[in-house]
């Protein structure tokens, strides 16, 4: 009788589990469907007058957490590097001082080079560990998810709305919201294509910060190389100092 009751609970639990969790899991897997990658990118910071500042950088990534970002333009950022070993350990290399400096994770609250991206945005590669997901709507080509931050997690956006393309299993649009559901920032992913190693990747990400009069920034991926076999010893302070 106890066993039967237990099975009933299990079945009921499965039946009641929101499919949003599965969808979010698919998103995480699709976004990280490679072992390592090198992403050459251009960041455009659009000013209200329409002019844009451009920052060129390359991100080396090893799934899941390790990242090394190296800036190549403009001149005042050239040679600067950021190493993210995991969510709690970050280093910055400033070529003018020839020094690698451990930085507290408080810097995640800073904007990424004055753009509408934050360091937290740049370091968030998986949503499932941080958010619970609920499927809001589904049509033949997409899912709409509502994410709520898990208890005990501290993050700038406690609520998220995500639209997911069924073909690539990746987001096409994300609204980042405050606890009251007010949309603070929107990310739009454009130009999904199979970039390498059977991985779908966007060619452009546009971020609009509604708190800054809809100020826009966009990252254009100019060159992507996946699964080159980057080793853990690449993601060290030694690499940060010697440049790449």
């Amino acid at each position: 009788m106890k066993i039967a009751f237990g099975l009933l609970l299990l079945v009921a639990g499965t039946a009641w589990a929101d499919p949003g969790a599965d969808v979010l899991s698919k998103v995480d897997n699709a976004m990280n469907n490679f072992t390592d990658g090198e992403f050459e990118s251009k960041l455009f910071i659009r000013e209200p007058g329409g002019a844009a500042r451009e920052i060129d950088f390359t991100t080396f990534q090893k799934v899941p957490d390790k990242r090394l970002v190296r800036f190549s333009a403009p001149g005042d950022l050239k040679g600067m590097g950021v190493l993210v070993e995991n969510k709690d350990v970050m280093y910055v290399f400033l070529p003018g001082f020839q020094k690698v400096r451990r930085v507290g994770t408080h810097v995640k609250a800073q904007t990424f080079m004055g753009s509408d991206f934050s360091y937290e945005d740049m370091s968030l590669s998986r949503y499932s560990p941080t958010y619970d997901a609920k499927l809001v709507k589904e049509d033949p080509s997409s899912w709409e998810l509502a994410l709520t931050v898990k208890a005990g997690q501290e993050i700038e956006y406690p609520k998220v709305h995500m639209w997911v393309d069924k073909k690539s299993n990746q987001p096409t649009k994300i609204d980042f919201e405050d606890a009251g559901g007010k949309v603070l920032k929107t990310s739009e992913y454009e130009g999904y294509h199979i970039d390498d190693a059977n991985h779908y990747g966007p060619t452009k990400v546009v971020v609009t910060d509604h708190r800054r009069n809809d100020h826009k920034s966009e990252i254009v991926f100019t060159h992507v190389k996946l699964n080159q076999g980057l080793k853990d010893d690449f993601f060290t302070q030694r690499t940060l100092i010697r440049g790449h």
Binding site: I45, E47, R53, E54, A73, P74, G75, D76, K78, G79, E85, D88, V89, F97, Q98, K99, R101, R102, V103, G104, T105, H106, V107, K108, A109, Q110, T111, M113, G114, S115, S118, E154, H215, D232, D233, T236, Q237, R238, R242, G243, H244
Partner: protein, 529 residues
């Protein structure tokens, strides 16, 4: 045969050309740099060199520093070149070419010379070759370079391999590149063992106001013992020096004078930690001799004390405090004892002035001495005792939001402080034997904050360092430096900045001392490429 040999030559040349072509194709060239302009106006400073008939403006000139006047009018073209071949070898050059912006024409002949009408200087910040993985896990860097150790922000007591460029307060903490061999062994993860060998010592670059500390006749003698200081003051009163010339005793380029350093760094339990050792010299010279010549001329000699430094540091962040960053860095220095030889040659002899300890102490607890002239068997005054001393930096930083960043440090031992015991400042410019003494190693609170606005295009920065009195300081006085600045990133890589570097305090305080420098306001324009 000739034809065959000619064919071989053609093949060899073709091979060489082909090889050279391949090699050239493999070289990755990166070029960058900076063009900038730096204009400053001095406020309420001491004139350098002092206005006297015998004082001359040094060459190449940065002109006379007036109490109120332009103190810098520089233009810089910086060029940085990096050549790499595969991932194994890299050669780096970094050269600054400065034009002073002041003419140096003492006579009509010099006005015919370009380098005197428009003086310039060249600085090489880097000229080294990097070889990665020369052996498994071992990298080598040979050439002119800067090695930076420590986790503190600008205040790094463990960082002694390169000496400092103190010529410009706005470059606070900048190190001077030197020729050295550096080896990094990275056996696993973030564990790195670094060894450095510096064959030839390069002294610190001093500010133009530094000679005021040793060439002003009423400066207290830099000796520890109060009695000896008073005695020397009495001599100076009896025979007032009319001019003080300061000569240097630079270390010989011998193997014994080379410097070595070792550092072990890694991450343990989420904390970045390191331990280091350095054997070398302190970059700022210390007075060691003074010889009274006829006619009130004093010839003084300065030298660079040896030292051994044992240091450690750590850094991390506290997630429970929203990722607050923190760091602690400390070093114990074991200095060479430096004594002060005083000779009276005014009457044709070479008479040492020495002091015999009485074994008793005065009312203030200071040892007392009997003065001897002609008796070299007694002791000289002590400038730097061989007592080990500690320097320490502990700090935190935090990003409040997208716009505001703050940094707070407690510093025990400013970047130019060295030696146990006390240092003294003349209370006024007329009377000898009236000075104020305080501990050589001082306590400081250092605050910094950045406010970034308009997509980081406008930066409002404030930096301040405040001296905190400690037990034993005579008549503690307020003294501080403030560094407010506004920087506008006009466009990509183009920045205009306007600000001030303000020295606050009476002239007998750490930052009010004229030798430390004078307050300046500045306007800079910079383009980087």
């Amino acid at each position: 045969m000739a034809t065959k040999r000619g064919g071989l030559v053609v093949v060899a040349v073709a091979g060489l050309v082909g090889w050279a072509g391949v090699a050239r194709a493999d070289v990755d060239i990166k070029f960058g740099g900076q063009i900038s302009s730096d204009m400053r106006f001095r406020l309420a400073g001491e004139e350098v060199p002092p206005a006297s008939p015998t004082a001359t403006v040094p060459y190449p000139s940065q002109q006379r520093l007036l109490p109120y006047g332009f103190s810098r009018n520089e233009n810089l073209i910086k060029a940085q070149l990096t050549l790499s071949i595969s991932d194994r070898v890299k050669a780096v050059g970094d050269v600054d070419f400065y034009w002073y912006g002041y003419s140096d024409i003492n006579d009509i002949d010099s006005e015919t010379l370009h380098e005197r009408v428009d003086p310039y200087r060249l600085e090489a910040n880097a000229a080294y070759v990097d070889i990665y993985k020369i052996l498994p896990h071992l990298d080598l860097r040979i050439g002119r370079q800067v090695v930076v150790w420590g986790t503190g922000d600008k205040f790094n007591p463990t960082n002694n391999v390169n000496t400092l460029d103190l010529s410009d307060p706005l470059l606070f903490g900048k190190a001077i590149a030197n020729n050295m061999i550096r080896a990094d062994w990275n056996p696993i993860g973030d564990l790195i063992v670094t060894a450095v060998w510096v064959p030839i010592f390069r002294p610190a670059q001093l500010p133009r106001t530094a000679p005021l500390a040793v060439t002003t006749p009423n400066t207290p003698a830099p000796v520890q013992e109060a009695f000896i200081r008073n005695q020397l003051g009495a001599f100076a009163t009896a025979m007032p020096p009319s001019q003080i010339n300061v000569y240097t005793m630079q270390p010989d380029p011998s193997i014994q004078n080379s410097q070595v350093g070792v550092r072990v760094a890694g991450r343990f339990a989420g904390l970045d930690m390191s331990a280091s050792y350095y054997h070398g010299r302190w970059g700022i010279p210390t007075p060691a001799w003074a010889v009274e010549e006829p006619n009130g001329l004093v010839n003084a000699i300065v030298m660079w004390p040896r030292m051994d430094v044992v240091g450690a540091d750590l850094a991390g962040s506290i997630e429970k405090l929203k990722g607050l960053g923190y760091w602690v860095e400390a070093a114990v220095t074991f200095p060479q004892k430096i004594t002060y030889g005083v000779y009276n040659d005014a009457f044709g002899g070479h008479d040492p002035i020495t002091f015999e300890p009485t074994g008793m102490k005065d009312a203030n607890g200071n040892p007392t001495f009997i003065t001897h002239i002609f008796a070299p068997e007694y002791q000289r005054g002590t400038v730097i005792p061989d007592t080990p001393f500690l320097k320490l930096t502990a700090g935190i930083d935090y990003t409040w939001n997208k716009y505001l960043y703050s940094n707070f440090q407690y510093v025990y031992g400013f970047i130019d402080e060295f030696g146990a015991g006390q240092q003294c400042y003349a209370r006024d410019k007329i009377t000898f034997n009236d000075y104020r003494c305080e501990a050589r190693i001082g306590h400081y609170l250092v605050l910094g904050s950045d406010l970034k606005l308009f997509s980081d295009q406008l930066l409002l920065r404030f930096f301040g360092a405040f001296k905190v009195p400690q037990v034993g300081d005579q008549d503690p006085k307020f003294t501080a430096v403030l560094f407010p600045q506004i920087a506008w990133a006009v466009w990509d890589a183009t920045e205009l900045s306007l600000g001030a570097f303000l020295f606050l305090g009476d002239h007998d305080t750490k930052f009010g001392d004229p030798a430390a420098g004078a307050s300046e306001i500045f306007l800079k324009a910079r383009f980087t490429y």
